[in-house]
């Protein structure tokens, strides 16, 4: 640095300022400070700086759809971790004598075919849905954004191959694929289902990630960092990823809802989760044949599923609106 003093002779004495600016700077500084709130330059230097993320957060907090769906999701996560908080019974202790009975005191949702308490099963069923949804989304998002991001950044033959591979995955009808792949698996945990959804879900997120990395890569600030001598890892992690991640978050949040309903679909078809795992899909499947006699058996798990899927999709919508720079 040169002596910072050698241009200060142009400076006019700023009123009560630090005396560290040329006249232009001081004028701009004043006009900046003259604008409380809003516009290009809100607040004075004392105000906490706002990043785009904190702007988005401020928007979200004011959005009632976001608040409602977030509350629903928090509630779901809590009961899937500690179902005993609101359900004292055991979802697997059933009494055939109560089969298909309606609502009775202490059993507000009634009983199912096996005489299990529907309320307890609906509460415990949240765990399977949330686990599958969250794990499958995380897996698909990580795999998709890493592969898609690298393909978008480097381009070339790797990108060409990856694009064709993801085209192939897109071509597989997801329910048919599930029937084929999962019917041969006997493992009764959630992991085969999670693995299958990740396998078929990542190309969608990969495509979004690739596109947004290509968009971010063309920005002048990436060129500027390259011109400074920044390596690929710095370009990707510091400049491209933070600017490309928003669409991936949005798509992943919406996908989470659809993955939950996909789990239920597969379980309904008998190839997803299998008893003794408690799942809304299994319960819906078992209840569907009795819909005329005992509709409560179907309505409660189906209602829980719908509310859950809706909550995640609305959350995704709200996040997209908040992160969309065009609306700012």
């Amino acid at each position: 640095m040169p002596e910072p003093d050698n241009h200060r002779d142009e400076a006019i004495e700023p009123a009560g300022g630090t005396g560290a600016s040329i006249n232009l700077a001081q004028d701009e500084a004043r006009s900046l400070e003259r604008r409380p709130g809003g516009g290009q330059a809100p607040g004075g230097p004392a105000e906490k700086p706002r990043s785009l993320w904190s702007d988005a957060w401020r928007d979200l907090r004011r959005n009632s759809i976001f608040v409602i769906s977030a509350l629903v999701i928090i509630f779901l996560v809590v009961i899937s971790l500690w179902p005993s908080l609101i359900a004292s019974g055991n979802p697997l202790s059933c009494n055939l004598g109560n089969s298909q009975k309606g609502s009775t005191p202490g059993h507000p949702f009634g009983f199912d075919n096996q005489g299990c308490d529907v309320y307890t099963r609906v509460v415990y069923g949240a765990r399977a849905s949330v686990t599958v949804g969250v794990c499958a989304t995380l897996g698909a998002a990580i795999l998709g954004s890493v592969l898609g991001g690298l393909a978008g950044f480097f381009g070339g033959w790797g990108d060409a191959i990856l694009s064709r591979v993801s085209d192939i995955f897109f071509g597989i009808p997801i329910v048919l694929g599930g029937l084929v792949f999962l019917s041969v698996i006997t493992n009764t945990t959630v992991w085969p289902v999670v693995g299958f959804i990740v396998l078929l879900g990542w190309p969608q997120i990969g495509r979004i990630a690739r596109g947004s990395v290509i968009t971010a890569r063309q920005n002048d600030y990436v060129q500027a960092a390259r011109a400074l001598g920044a390596g690929n890892s710095r370009l990707l992690l510091r400049h491209i990823a933070p600017n490309a991640v928003a669409p991936v978050i949005v798509v992943a949040t919406i996908a989470l809802g659809t993955y939950i309903s996909l789990e239920a679909t597969l379980s309904y078809l008998g190839v997803g989760l299998k008893p003794p795992t408690v799942s809304w899909g299994i319960d819906i499947s078992q209840a569907s044949s009795q819909i005329r006699n005992a509709p409560h058996m179907l309505l409660w798990p189906a209602g829980a599923l719908s509310v859950t899927v809706l909550a995640f999709i609305m959350l995704g919508d709200a996040v997209r609106d908040a992160l969309d720079p065009k609306l700012h």
């Binding site: 040169p2 700077a25 290009q40 990043s51 960092a225 011109a227 001598g229 920044a230």
Partner: protein, 359 residues
């Protein structure tokens, strides 16, 4: 004349046009830059003017090593920087920095101003020890005329002119010798352009910088440049000092370009002769043979179609002690009287009225 610190020789950049999805086949090439030679001297400003598609921005990218040339050399201090890579390239980058056109896309919106201007020190940690960086960033903010307290703000909290100052501060951080500025003021409001131009001029003196100033605005280029090169379809067609180019242009394209500039003087419109070129600039993927300007040139003859004019002092002016004797790539170079009409004397800027005049 000062020492030449950058020599560009036979610079060519062709972007291949390809077809096919997995197996790409080259079907042609966009000849963005096609044989450009010039020198940049220490402490000078070399202006490059031309219309969109003439290749001036590609030249900037090649100088910054953001694109690799198809052919040619860029020699900085004895090294051909187009051949460097790794550590040697990184070292050269410290000496050549860039100011971008669009102040809205050239700053990372997720980084604070302090992180943006401090990033050069993270990439080149040898320039400033960690403890000094914050102080250095604040000094830079001060130097470009921004309040050093804004270090924690984000780019979207600033106006276009202020953002451009941040971009300039980032370019200065490593104390480069050369700054390549690609249309640095064209995205700014008229009243803010003058602020940024003055800042760049002050910094040039303060830090002994050499500028490559690329722009389409001929008045601004004349104001800031010592020498000016005029580009057309990937080639420099005329180059010389500012008086040679603006007062004694000999290439028909330069003459047409200068005569088309709208001058802020309504009286000039009556006594100027405007050369209105017909048609559009041909595609750089399929440029005309011979002289590339011949399809729009009113002087073009048969010779222009098959003989490429070289950038040299034209034969008619060779050996003459005249400002017209400068490099011009035209077979029929000649001077044309009053291409640039004289304007009215400059308007005095507003100033504070004397106290007795106050009503």
């Amino acid at each position: 004349m000062a020492e030449s610190i950058l020599q560009v020789r036979g610079l060519v950049k062709h972007f291949p046009l390809t077809q096919g999805i997995l197996f790409k086949k080259q079907v042609g090439a966009v000849q963005a830059v096609d044989g450009v030679d010039f020198d940049l001297y220490a402490g000078e400003t070399l202006g490059i003017v031309g219309e969109s598609g003439c290749g001036k921005s590609t030249v900037a990218k090649l100088l910054m090593n953001l694109e690799r040339p198809t052919a040619g050399e860029i020699i900085f201090k004895g090294d051909d920087i187009t051949k460097l890579s790794g550590r040697a390239l990184k070292a050269v980058r410290r000496n050549i920095q860039m100011v971008f056109q669009d102040p809205y896309t050239s700053l990372n919106p997720r980084m604070t101003v302090g992180d943006i201007i401090g990033e050069p020190y993270e990439i080149h940690p040898e320039v400033a020890p960690k403890g000094e960086r914050r102080k250095k960033v604040q000094d830079l903010l001060d130097v470009v005329g921004l309040n050093p307290e804004y270090i924690n703000r984000y780019p979207h909290q600033f106006s276009g002119g202020q953002r451009q100052r941040i971009g300039i501060a980032r370019g200065l951080a490593l104390r480069p010798e050369i700054i390549v500025a690609d249309e640095p003021v064209s995205a700014l409001d008229v009243s803010v352009q003058a602020q940024v131009i003055n800042l760049m001029e002050r910094l040039q003196d303060e830090f002994s910088l050499s500028y490559m100033f690329i722009a389409h605005d001929l008045s601004i280029v004349r104001h800031i440049s010592d020498r000016v090169g005029v580009m057309y379809l990937g080639k420099i067609v005329e180059i010389g000092d500012d008086a040679q180019i603006y007062e004694h242009p000999t290439h028909p394209y330069t003459q047409a370009l200068l005569s088309a500039v709208p001058v802020p003087d309504p009286d000039a419109r009556e006594h100027r002769e405007r050369i209105v070129l017909s048609g559009d600039v041909p595609s750089p993927a399929n440029p005309p043979s011979g002289c590339r300007f011949r399809t729009r040139c009113w002087k073009a003859q048969e010779r222009c179609a098959f003989e490429i004019p070289l950038l040299a002092v034209p034969a008619v002016f060779r050996g003459l002690d005249s400002p017209a004797a400068h490099d011009s790539a035209c077979h029929f170079a000649e001077e044309k009287p009053t291409v640039v009409p004289p304007e009215a004397p400059p308007v005095e800027p507003p100033h504070e009225p004397p106290p007795d005049k106050q009503p």
